[in-house]
């Protein structure tokens, strides 16, 4: 894959309706985005359909991408993940409510930090090491595979409320670590 700056330049040209840049962007990033669709949807046909929708969205939303400080690959993968997760949720609607159980003690609320986070690939890995390994695994597979609380609970053989608490505590710990 080309460097991020080249990908960002391609997205900029796509925003100007440059079809050659769109084709080049596709050839550069489609293997990564297809992989994301496939990991979440776990079906090649559905992943291919999703990839089409994802690139239609990229064409339509390229103008909204502001290169300032943001990772272009993170932006592109987010479009692929969000679309795939939406397809997954529509395919298997779950009735689980998330209204209760919000009040979880914040382990160490960090100071208000308005500074824009600079993306560092390794920072999340360092913070993940501070979590119990099974909880870190649950967080990672939730993200990578788009699993629901129910599916995570089954995979880890714990009640759904336990899984919910695991993940929420883990998110707060991660937030605290990432803001440190």
């Amino acid at each position: 894959m080309a460097p991020e700056s080249d990908i960002a330049a391609l997205v900029g040209r796509v925003a100007l309706r440059d079809r050659a840049a769109f084709a080049e962007l596709y050839s550069q990033v489609s293997p990564k985005l297809f992989s994301a669709c496939l990991r979440i949807l776990k079906d090649r046909g559905e992943a291919e359909d999703a990839l089409q929708e994802v690139f239609v969205k990229i064409w339509q939303r390229s103008g909204r991408f502001a290169a300032a400080g943001n990772s272009v690959m993170a932006w592109l993968v987010t479009i692929a993940r969000n679309h795939s997760i939406d397809v997954l949720r529509a395919r298997r609607p779950t009735g689980e409510s998330t209204d209760e159980d919000w009040q979880i003690a914040d382990p160490a609320p960090g100071p208000e930090n308005a500074a824009v986070m600079k993306w560092e690939g390794k920072r999340i890995d360092r913070c993940m090491e501070e979590l119990d390994s099974d909880r870190a695994g649950a967080v990672r597979s939730a993200y990578v595979e788009g699993l629901t609380y129910q599916e995570l609970a089954e995979r880890h053989a714990v009640p759904i409320n336990t899984m919910r608490t695991w993940l929420r505590r883990s998110l707060l710990k991660l937030r605290e670590c990432l803001d440190r």
């Binding site: 489609s30 999340i124 788009g146």
Partner: protein
């Protein structure tokens, strides 16, 4: 002292909700609610963006995998639909198709509705065998040009008068005869780049210029279509209709 705690609690709750959204664990209805809030709550949107940047570190788990080779052409077909020749004919014809061609009328008498009405009511009757077929070939709203075509059955000569010609001079305008019933278009020749043009219809094609055929002009590479079939957009068309 309860107020700062309250806002602190809200902040944690929002951080959790933003994190759960980015993780992807929320059910569909909650995802929609979160997205609605992203659109109107900038502080919350910043939290979501922050999580997205942070958790993007997990994207390394997505090992590159080539999609099927057909996928890109499907995306292109979705975004940039290439219209078929038949579809282009339909859209290029415009209102004019319904009264496209009058047999036995000279151009001078062509414009008035009264003539059309008398024509429709059958006053004119059978047209003499060696008079002109006249067609105005009209285009889409943004068509590069309109054309008036006059075909003399006696001489076998099709006369074309461009109206407001704006054609790109690096390209050629090619005239096609489109038989009724969906058969492949037949080239009638290349139009002159400027001014009034005339195309001599090959003798073997002359019997085919009759009711039900359509004239079409397409924009082609300089010198005409390389394939023998229209390749560029149809900029004008008109259907020949007898009485």
């Amino acid at each position: 002292m309860s107020k700062p705690e309250q806002s602190e609690g809200d902040r944690s709750r929002d951080q959790l909700l933003a994190g759960e959204y980015v993780l992807g664990v929320l059910p569909e209805a909650d995802r929609r609610k979160v997205e609605a809030r992203i659109g109107k709550d900038r502080a919350f949107a910043a939290m979501v963006a922050n999580w997205q940047e942070n958790l993007a570190g997990f994207d390394t788990d997505y090992e590159e995998q080539a999609p099927p080779s057909r996928t890109y052409s499907r995306i292109e077909a979705r975004l940039f639909p290439a219209r078929t020749f038949q579809q282009q004919l339909l859209s290029a014809g415009g209102w004019w198709n319904s009264l496209a061609l009058w047999r036995g009328l000279a151009i001078a008498s062509f414009a008035t509705l009264a003539t059309y009405a008398s024509f429709q009511s059958g006053w004119i009757g059978e047209a003499p065998p060696s008079q002109a077929l006249v067609a105005e070939l009209s285009g889409d709203n943004n068509a590069a040009l309109g054309l008036m075509a006059r075909y003399d059955t006696g001489s076998g000569r099709l006369q074309l008068m461009p109206v407001a010609a704006k054609a790109d001079d690096a390209r050629s305008l090619q005239l096609w005869l489109v038989p009724d019933g969906g058969a492949a278009p037949v080239s009638l020749g290349i139009l002159p780049q400027t001014g009034e043009g005339a195309v001599d219809i090959p003798a073997d094609l002359r019997p085919r210029l009759r009711d039900g055929v359509t004239f079409a002009v397409s924009l082609e590479p300089f010198g005409g279509s390389p394939t023998g079939q229209p390749t560029g957009p149809v900029i004008a068309s008109g259907k020949a209709q007898g009485i």
